[in-house]
Symmetry: C2
Subunit: 228 residues, 2 copies
DNA sequence: GGCTGTCTTTGCGCTGGCGCAAGTTCGGGC
DNA sequence: GCCCGAACTTGCGCCAGCGCAAAGACAGCC
């Protein structure tokens, strides 16, 4: 309950409203690699992640995969469920053991109507999400690969970064492929780019693991500043 | 009032609620080329377009412009105003004479709390917006220029298409530059691409004006099908 | 009608980054 | 400890699309 009361979407609700929200929820756990929802399935449930990490990805009609974003605890996914029985546009898959709260679309609709604050918070959350996608779309259209990858890493660090002795560890199993699919390039190019940064001491990388050693240097790359 | 009651965000409100919503609104008109909101200004107003067309664009720190989308009557812009005094992330400029309803962020917050249906509708609207941006981001990451331009045109046709004798006219002053900034390419490449399609009889174009003569052929390009 | 500025076209050279193939390293299961 | 498959690296060839320059076409204004 304490955890739930701190989630953005339930900010400003009193204890009884929170209790009601929780009473309507079911708990859904997933192991690493297990999917919460699959692209194309009819959307009937809406989720809020409590712990773990979830990866949202889309597969193109040609079979190519694209990683839309990673979901951190406190964030929502499957919102499309509240607007009728459209199919989910993405697949949501746990990349490490995860726990989420789930509501049926109808139940969540009723909660919003009874507690308008949830609708207000939800709009704020989605507006923020729209802003993030706008930024990424702008990047995709105007920036070269190196800058996009730098921005992608910085975004992940902000979302899932953990301070460790050497710098900021991106606390996610993150393959070169994932990074390529997030930034619209190929795993080859990502590999070469990371290798270049590693040589310059900006990052340190291993299998499915990246640590930012000099975040400010990466920011310089992302902003296309002359060598710092 | 009739027009307002048909807007997605006010669906399901009764007459008295609609009257209340309208009473809180002010009318804002703009001439072609005039800006409703400017990127970077503190966001204090939220708009719903009644008539005309509005272009949302962003300027990168390097001064490069990007066109995020066009707003059609019934759609919202400036939503960021309801979440505190953040700066607007985009500039909203009328491309033809426009009329919009405007609310202050606080007033709209109060309306949502009094009429939760608005919050629900607003979430639906934003969820749809997120979906659109996800699609575009996927396209940006996986498709070649020609397909992206085809998809861009089709999206515009859906949003602002008008049936005319020869086909579907995109009813917007739309320069090559605009199209390039929407699809993440250059006006040169757009010009060449359109010229190619015109030669094949798929479209017909003039200054700031494009008409789809064979929409299905454009769909074939967008989906990368073999020649139809 | 002529002028001006904006929009558009077209040619040409160049390169970032893709695509593939082959090889290497690593982690986990038995 | 060994094996297997997944993840990663590296070299090489190639081309889609960018960048620029210069010229052409059109709309609106005086």
């Amino acid at each position: 309950m304490a955890a739930v009361s701190r989630m953005g979407i339930f900010l400003g609700l009193d204890a009884s409203a929170l209790a009601e929200v929780l009473a309507a929820a079911t708990l859904a756990t997933a192991q690493a690699g297990e999917a919460y929802v699959c692209q194309g399935d009819p959307a009937h449930r809406f989720y809020l992640l409590v712990s773990g990490r979830v990866r949202l990805s889309q597969v193109t009609p040609e079979g190519q995969q694209v990683v839309m974003r990673f979901i951190a605890p406190g964030e929502e996914f499957g919102i499309v469920a509240i607007l009728g029985r459209l199919p989910y546009p993405v697949t949501a898959e746990a990349v490490e053991p995860a726990v989420a709260l789930a509501w049926s679309g109808e139940a969540f609709n009723r909660l919003i109507l009874r507690h308008p604050q949830i609708g207000l918070n939800g709009m704020a959350m989605l507006a923020e999400r729209v802003r993030e996608f706008q930024d990424r779309l702008r990047e995709a259209g105007t920036q070269r690969v190196e800058r996009r990858v730098a921005n992608g890493l910085l975004r992940l660090a902000r979302q899932a970064g953990r301070s460790v002795a050497e710098g900021v560890l991106i606390d996610l199993p993150l393959s070169r492929q994932d990074l390529a699919e997030m930034t619209g390039t190929t795993l080859f190019t990502v590999s070469r780019t990371l290798a270049g940064w590693e040589e310059r001491g900006i990052i340190s990388s291993a299998r499915k693991r990246v640590t930012l050693l000099q975040p400010h240097a990466l920011v310089a790359v992302a902003e296309d500043l002359p060598e710092g």
